[in-house]
Symmetry: C2
């Protein structure tokens, strides 16, 4: 019986021996070997296999253009962050990357320097400003800063048919001195979508679904590696138990709270507000050497 | 960077430390560890991760009540047969099991001894007869023999909206001496569904999608382990390269071809026909010992 199991594993791995693409062969043989090892080590039962098929099927059913439960699994099992870490060969001075998550949307509106990303009243105003720099300190003009964040209702615009489509997202182009600025809202923690298979897994394993307060940022400039990262609020709960393992200490920033009468108050802001100054440092595109 | 990757893996595994159910904890920690090991060992790139998410998403999209692409992945990677092998603690004299596959359907019609499972003319008649026995040789009366097979159009009835729903499937109850008989069609090889992600994988890795000719059988009787198996035609091609790794030598049977004038010809049969005699030997239900 142990011998029968080993024979099946060997046959499944050998079935890819004639694969013409060496990387595809390597990936499928390694995938097969590791899945078989997992199953044999666990002595997975037929009932557990059935449950696994059911969970995958439910994951497929809940996934659509607005909900990506497969990415959520990847995030919740730390896989997205692992892939991020393996790819990260940036110099130490460059801003660290973190997961993109499932809520980035293509084609966010291009907005002016200092413009608000909120399309309707929401939360406490947060003035975000800073510069995009190259490693070494050179300011990068005409870099693109793509930002997106959740509302106080815990949702991103792409999750919420009732909010304006472009709410709380936007693209900003840096000025000659590399500077950018925009009006966001002070971010609040939110749970990852927990009404599907990933949520069931979290609940049954005693894990919470919360992410610490953050704003997503993707920065791109010609000749530099695209940077996908977050800025985390240092005052947020869950910084040490992010449901998707995305916190890196260098990405935690202090958000300064201001009095309504503070003279540096940006125009259009009433009441309490906060500010955040943050620079993004890009690494030059890696040279790809021919094999 | 290597250290960052190891930290993420450790954090993801540790996130399940407080899981109340020890088996769930063990399964999720082992799943996480093996997936991380696979990804780190392969140095999976962001592009490959995206392709993986895309393949899983397409697998979800093509899966519905008539098509189970997740089970097809399990079959094509040898996982279904591995789970079968791990569960198989039957005594050596018992008939060996093999994969159920994605085409079994609940509630096949109960048919009379000797009745045909073909609801419309199809292929060459095959008279299948035999007995259901206990290990040791005792005949089992009133055992249920549930059979299903593909048509000459390569499809099972559940795959084909144009064929009668109950075509080529049926349930038979054994007589007092454990005997059963039915009229099937001589099975023909067929490709597993190859117009989806699994088919793309097979094509890109140089694997063929074919399964050797077989009839599916599931046998159940009170007090005995349910047996899910196949009978393979010894004259079929692909016996040594079944796309789902399900062939076991003991399940390969000789189908006897008969002359149209053979006096043993079953009623209702015209022209060339074949016969197959096969017994199914069941093992008693295992005692579950309290922990």
């Amino acid at each position: 019986m142990g011998a029968a199991a080993r024979q099946i594993t060997a046959a499944a791995i050998a079935s890819f021996d004639a694969c013409p693409n060496p990387r595809t062969r390597e990936l499928l043989q390694s995938l097969t070997a590791h899945l078989h090892e997992l199953i044999a080590e666990m002595r997975l039962t037929r009932g557990e296999w059935e449950r696994g098929i059911e969970i995958l099927t439910q994951t497929g059913e809940i996934t659509d253009e607005h909900r990506q439960e497969f990415i959520l699994w990847s995030d919740a099992l730390g896989i997205s962050m692992l892939v991020d870490a393996l790819a990260d060969e940036r110099p130490a001075e460059a801003t660290e990357s973190t997961v993109e998550g499932p809520f980035w949307a293509e084609g966010s509106p291009l907005r002016e320097y200092g413009e608000s990303i909120a399309e309707q009243p929401d939360g406490e105003p947060l003035w975000v400003s800073g510069r995009v720099l190259a490693v070494g300190g050179e300011p990068l003009a005409r870099a693109e800063v793509d930002v997106w964040q959740n509302g106080t209702n815990r949702l991103y615009a792409v999750q919420n048919p009732d909010s304006p489509e472009e709410h709380l997202r936007g693209r900003f182009v840096t000025r000659d001195d590399g500077s950018f600025a925009f009006l966001a809202i002070r971010p609040t923690p939110y749970p990852i979508p927990d009404d599907g298979p990933v949520g069931q897994m979290l609940a049954s394993t005693g894990r919470h679904p919360w992410r610490p307060a953050h704003i997503h940022v993707a920065v791109s400039a010609g000749g530099f590696e695209r940077l996908t990262t977050h800025v985390f609020d240092s005052a947020s709960p869950y910084l040490d138990s992010d449901a998707v393992f995305a916190v890196k200490p260098s990405l935690i920033k202090h958000l300064v709270r201001h009095d309504p009468n503070d003279p540096s108050r940006p125009s259009g802001v009433d009441g309490e507000w906060s500010s955040l100054e943050v620079n993004f440092v890009l690494a030059p595109t890696r040279m790809v050497t021919a094999e």
